[in-house]
Symmetry: C3
Subunit: 273 residues, 3 copies
């Protein structure tokens, strides 16, 4: 099934409107091109809705949010809802500042998201309904392990039910859940945490996958998570002794560029809960 | 002749003021360094004119334009005109939103451009004088082929006459025209469309080339287009099986870094119309 | 000693708040990860102080400063001072526009910096107390050579005394001085000037090093300068004939990723004055 999902991306070339941070924006654009999609970045209120209208999907990432881009997130999000376009939320650093946490809450109130992707701490900050500040990386105490996996799956399903979104919690084990089913994914490599924006790139990739597969957001999000994790493994296998995280970043995007449906189908490692 | 044009860039190290989008800005800076120029990025109204004054040329790119950067484009453009500096316009996404289209129109009204570079749809949006929205990539119907080349040349020459700028339309065949002559260039590789910002990088490169060769803007723009296209070919030849668009991006900038006047002279493939 | 300084970075994983330009921000994030630190980028006044509070150190870089980010620099800088966090200033382009020069002066007045890092022209612009505009690269007349090294050391020590900061002047010879001692460092490679943001990356690296070694800011800044210079040498040694500045950029970050305390201890080349 993942094979078909990937091939739909390559066939339909989904055009994705990204309102995203300026740290990893270039990587997001290149990974969208690598997977077979097409990126547009635009965050001014003077054009946000219009750009959303000509696209197939929307990716909202709150890293480096600011007073100018926040209103554009709302305007584009509502327009995408109106048009029935998939919308992805990446609540980067939710819990780390009141501005981020509260912007994410307000987005959840006013925009219907197809997928919400973050690390466990970000998703917990969103789900808790409180504005306490936390670190931007996942709290060690929260990290998903074999022991805590079932609890996290339950948590994710409940939050999915509440929001109507596919909840995507990424970490050593990734949990992708709607209200009744969850993929627990074991693809990936620890070195992915040593490049900036692997999460941002994944959110952009998910946006392309769900836009090209609108009837199956859960499966499409899971396929995207497996795809990036698998490419993280393959990119690591390609590393020479002199390579470091800069080469690794390039290798991952290269692997996404070369990934076939067949590779994905055979390389995906997950169980259902 | 292209040999001399390239060597003038390396000799004079043109300092280019870029008001550009945050998606591809790093690549624009690195390609300017690669070709022998020197980049400065600055887009605040509090310094835009002053930064233009200390530079040799100006590159205005409207991707991710916003309410803060638009006034800086006008201020810097007018200052550059006043000082007789070459100015390049890259109307990214003209036709895709009213904000972009109308900003581009107003720029054409108030600033005299040396070169305008875009894909065929962007240039048609500018030339049509109407604000209809279109996609940000070239419309398939518009793409320049052998069949439509002569018509496009005529269109480009007329628009060059109207604007006083060298019109640079990039695609499978590139058309670079002033009011009486046109270069039709066949360098390049289809994979260049799989990296973000190959157009932005070309506009930055053109800015360096025309700044270092102020007496020959048509030839300088054509030389820059041949240079990037040739480097796109050479970078592709360097690709291993595992490489993808991330490596390709790096290879292209590397090739620009290593390109000699002799390489360019012998590798340029064009005809005049 | 440098060995221990580097190892402290890898052990303590300093979290660095960066208010920086959008040109080189991705490289700054990746080099912070490469060295063993962790980056957060945030520049909106609505969260700047809060983000500083959850971090260990602050890196303020005035490249592409604007009306929205300048107030955040002051707010975050003061908060970091209040909390006793190390603060690094990179006065990119001080001397090139009144906005940059005067913002840098005001920052010096209102924020206590642990380290100030720039090229000789930027540091001279800061020290002169006047707002005259200059180029953004180091003036040829100012460049530190064996002949002018002792004078530059004196200048740096005096400016260190005046500001209370470790003054880091980078160039062919790097001078890192507090009021009484100076490191004169000869690591590095001329090609480092052919990638955008090698200075910005160094400032981010220094922020990580001084945050992980708060008792020895002079030594930590010197160790960071040696580390990047040494990695510039090693990255150059790794270059193939086809490589250019894009590959070189990646190689440098890769080398920082792989650099051990032992490598640094044995590769650092400096004398004290």
């Amino acid at each position: 099934m993942f094979e078909k999902i990937l091939e739909n991306v390559r066939k339909t070339v989904p055009l994705i409107h990204n309102i995203t941070n300026y740290v990893t924006v270039n990587d997001c654009a290149n990974i969208l091109l690598a997977c077979g999609g097409s990126p547009i970045m635009s965050d001014d209120i003077g054009e946000a809705e219009e750009i959303t209208s000509i696209c197939g999907g929307l990716n909202i990432n709150i890293g480096t949010l600011n007073g100018n881009t926040i209103p554009s997130m709302f305007a584009a999000g509502k327009k995408a809802n109106e048009l029935g376009h998939p919308v992805v939320l990446d609540p980067v650093g939710a819990g780390a500042s009141r501005l981020r946490t509260q912007t994410a809450y307000r987005l959840l109130d006013e925009v219907k998201f197809t997928v919400i992707r973050g690390n466990i701490s970000e998703i917990r900050a969103l789900a808790s309904g409180t504005g306490t500040t936390r670190g931007v990386d996942a709290d060690v105490a929260d990290i998903v392990t074999d022991e805590t996996m079932d609890d996290t799956v339950e948590f994710a399903k409940k939050f999915a039910e509440k929001t109507g979104a596919v909840i995507t919690i990424t970490g050593a084990i990734d949990i992708i859940a709607d209200q009744s089913r969850a993929y627990c994914i074991r693809n990936g490599h620890p070195m992915m945490s040593k490049i900036t924006g692997s999460g941002c790139q994944l959110s952009a990739l998910i946006a392309a996958y769900v836009t090209a597969n609108p009837e199956q957001p859960l499966e499409a999000a899971a396929a995207a998570v497996c795809a990036l994790g698998l490419c993280g493994e393959r990119a690591f296998a390609r590393m020479s002794e002199q390579d470091g995280n800069a080469s690794y970043r390039n290798h991952i995007i290269d692997e996404i560029y070369n990934l076939t449906g067949d590779d994905l189908e055979s390389g995906a490692r997950y169980e259902m809960r």
